[in-house]
Symmetry: C2
Subunit: 79 residues, 2 copies
């Protein structure tokens, strides 16, 4: 089974990378761009075929490694 | 208008970060995990209200800055 994990910074957490991208876009002439936030997308495949078991496994992966749950939130999409 | 840009490595391009995550997951006991690939998700807001014009602007942002189109492909979702 394939899983897509989207990891984004929680609201209110400062995003220096997003700010840097926003500044660069402005300098390239894209003036009106605002609230640029950068997150991660992790695609993976796991042998589990049962959707609920697969979701539980990916959740455990997020909690243990993929996301820093203090400042990041994650969304799991099973494909 | 809000846009989500998903940037992923093109097929066949080596993904050392993905490999590192895969190895770490294995060492945490998630043995069967395979084909781990890491990409970027960039969320941004632009003042443009016309969807086509907004898509064209975001495409220009991708081509000029957000994606390295030699090794990366991008997908634009207008929200």
């Amino acid at each position: 089974m394939k899983a897509n994990v989207t990891i984004t910074l929680k609201k209110g957490v400062l995003d220096p990378q997003g700010k840097a991208i926003e500044g660069a876009l402005h300098s390239l002439g894209f003036d009106g761009v605002e609230n640029v936030r950068q997150g991660k997308l992790i695609e993976l495949e796991l042998p589990e075929t049962d959707r609920e078991a697969a979701r539980a496994q990916v959740e455990a992966m997020c909690e243990k490694l993929l996301a820093n749950t203090v400042i990041e939130s994650y969304r799991i999409d099973l494909v």
